[in-house]
């Protein structure tokens, strides 16, 4: 998801028709526009740094997230422990990095679940059309009206707090908007000539949907995926804050914030650092998503 400037943007000049007509001009154009957007670039860069730190950081650190040092107790940020330690003497930086793995991991995998369900569902409803479409979208309407957060809470309370269930539950909640967007796009694509051509060539429906239609609506899909990740991460942190998400001694950013909020009167750093890192991540994802939306020229989709 990180847009590290690994791919050099193709130089685009309007006077060169050959380049404008090349297959990459749309994406090249979008990439160019995205780079103009400073907030989006900053967001992308921040995300890249955070991801690298969280995935590879723990390998270079001596301590593990569960190493306790009860004699040490909570210490303020200093030379030995850059971000301080918690009441059990665990290094906050280490816990923050490990927590990031969980939070980012849950964010990505739950979004992947939502993406898969949403895209397939929306594509099928839009492509098949008719009564099937009405029925499928009516179901989405009904599901929209359900207070899902409440169900996720109940699910986590009653069926154990394991992390697989957590992201399946979150993923199952977040696919609705994606399904609506994809359906709308597919509906408008369906009447285009190239789809008619594909059909007259005798291609299977499955091939038409996945090889010819989905690639054409990648723009909106990418944008809404980027915007789904923060809402998924927020839901995970929300559940963890209520004590329903990731269980100790593992830590996600949500559980760290929960611990911090309980002890903030004496040890402010336990709340401030996890809170800032988490907020910064969400901020970056949102800026990147907004930037992508403008760059790919995705209009606000209502049904």
């Amino acid at each position: 998801m990180n847009l590290a400037p690994a791919v050099p943007p193709p130089s685009l000049s309007a006077s060169d028709p050959a380049q404008l007509e090349s297959g990459h001009s749309l994406w090249g154009d979008a990439w160019h526009r995205l780079r103009q957007n400073r907030l989006a670039v900053a967001g992308g860069a921040a995300l890249f740094v955070l991801t690298v730190l969280c995935t590879s950081g723990p390998w270079f650190l001596q301590a593990s997230y569960q190493d306790q040092n009860l004699d040490l107790g909570a210490t303020a940020p200093g030379a030995a422990h850059w971000l301080g330690t918690d009441t059990l003497g665990r290094d906050l930086l280490v816990r923050l990095l490990y927590g990031g793995r969980i939070s980012l991991g849950v964010g990505l995998s739950a979004t992947f679940v939502a993406l898969t369900i949403g895209v397939s569902y929306g594509a099928i409803a839009g492509y098949v059309g008719g009564k099937t479409d009405i029925l499928m979208m009516r179901l989405v309407d009904i599901l929209y009206a359900l207070p899902f957060t409440i169900f996720v809470i109940l699910l986590m309370v009653f069926f154990g707090r394991n992390i697989i269930l957590l992201f399946v539950a979150i993923g199952a909640v977040e696919w609705l908007t994606m399904a609506r967007i994809v359906r709308g796009q597919i509906l408008s694509l369906k009447k285009m000539e190239f789809i008619e051509a594909a059909r007259s060539l005798g291609l299977s429906n499955r091939r038409i949907i996945f090889r010819h239609m989905i690639p054409n609506i990648l723009g909106p899909i990418i944008v809404y995926t980027t915007l789904t990740i923060p809402s998924v991460m927020l839901l995970e942190a929300f559940l963890s804050f209520l004590g329903l998400g990731v269980q100790p001694p593992m830590s996600s950013w949500g559980t760290l914030i929960k611990d911090g909020a309980e002890k903030m009167e004496e040890f402010w750093w336990l709340l401030v650092f996890p809170g800032s890192v988490f907020s910064l991540t969400l901020l970056s994802l949102n800026f990147l998503g907004d930037g992508l939306r403008d760059a790919l020229d995705v209009r606000g989709s209502k049904d």
Binding site: I142, Y144, A145, L146, P147, T149, I150, F151, I153, L154, L155, V157, F158, F159, P230, L234, A237, F238, F241, L242, I257, K258, G260, A261, M264, E265, W268, L271, V272, G275, F278, S279, L282, L283, N286, F287
Partner: protein, 306 residues
């Protein structure tokens, strides 16, 4: 319009039914029960307890008995954990607190969101616009469970202006309402800004200007009506978020409201209280969505009641 309302109410029936059914069976299929405690209860007493609450009958019989009571008498049954109290009593006790919190938060959200949204739209692409938009983005990205404790740290612990928790005096209400309202004000601000920008370019605004209407009148009377549409549309699903958002707020600030009661009752496996609260939330959400639809048509005569 009456037909529209009736139609929508009919649509709400399957939604509510699904909510009740899913919650009911999920609760019953889960391992553990309200009488699972550290101290084992003698089997005879357990049997008597279950007979008293009707838990010994087959599941589907229990379901329809419950459903019948809820629909016909509005009776949500006795609480399993608080002996001698009914769910209706508990809800009557806690709901006003949550409503007060939600109402105050909504007030904060509307005042802040509309004011700054309109100002940002009028001063588009100026420093003020960027400032408001950035603060708005922060409001969306800093979760309530970070923002709330930070406010407590600053205003209650460091400065001592207001109380950190409780629900007795007006000082107790400031921080929870601000925390919950701030997030929503950020959404409302963004939507107001976008809505106003769309409307301000339209012909009827130019007409109003040409007629010599004052700028204040143009903005508040002509533009706002159209610019409010996206905000109103958001308030429907937004209410659901406001309700669930209050779970966290009530936990952080120790507010004795329904949200905290719901989370506690889930942990306690107080079946009837959980179900009763879920049903209440669902009804509230359905009602809010209906009101929002009506307001939308009132604001935009182009929309018609289907």
């Amino acid at each position: 319009m009456l037909r529209f309302i009736a139609h929508r109410l009919l649509q709400a029936v399957p939604v509510l039914f699904i909510i009740i059914a899913v919650s009911f069976f999920m609760l019953r299929l889960a391992p553990g029960g309200p009488f699972t405690a550290e101290k084992a209860i003698p089997p005879e007493i357990l049997r008597n307890l279950e007979a008293h609450y009707g838990l010994d009958k087959p599941l589907h019989v229990q379901f329809f008995t419950y459903l019948g009571k809820v629909v016909l008498h509005g009776d949500l049954g006795p609480s399993f954990k608080y002996s001698n109290r009914t769910v209706n009593e508990i809800i009557a006790d806690k709901l006003p607190v949550s409503l007060e919190l939600g109402g105050l938060a909504l007030l904060v959200a509307l005042v802040l969101g509309l004011t700054f949204g309109i100002l940002a739209a009028l001063r588009r692409n100026t420093f003020l616009d960027y400032l408001y938009s950035t603060v708005g983005m922060l409001g969306i990205c800093v979760p309530t469970f970070v923002f709330g404790p930070l406010l407590v740290l600053l205003f209650a612990i460091q400065l001592g202006w207001v109380n950190a928790s409780g629900w007795y005096t007006w000082q107790d209400r400031v921080l929870p309402a601000l925390t919950l309202g701030f997030v929503f004000s950020a959404y409302i601000m963004r939507l107001t800004r976008a809505g106003m920008l769309e409307v301000l370019h339209q012909d009827y605004i130019r007409t109003a200007r040409a007629k010599g209407a004052s700028e204040v009148r143009i903005v508040l009377r002509h533009a706002l009506r159209g610019g409010l549409l996206p905000v109103v549309a958001f308030l429907g699903p937004g209410t659901a978020d406001l309700l669930t958002g209050s779970f966290v707020i009530e936990t952080i600030f120790q507010v004795p409201g329904l949200g905290r009661e719901f989370v506690n009752s889930a942990f306690n496996r107080d079946y009837t209280l959980v179900l009763g609260t879920v049903i209440l939330f669902a009804v509230l959400i359905v009602a809010c969505n209906l009101v929002v639809d009506l307001v939308q048509v009132w604001l935009n005569p182009k929309l018609k009641f289907e």
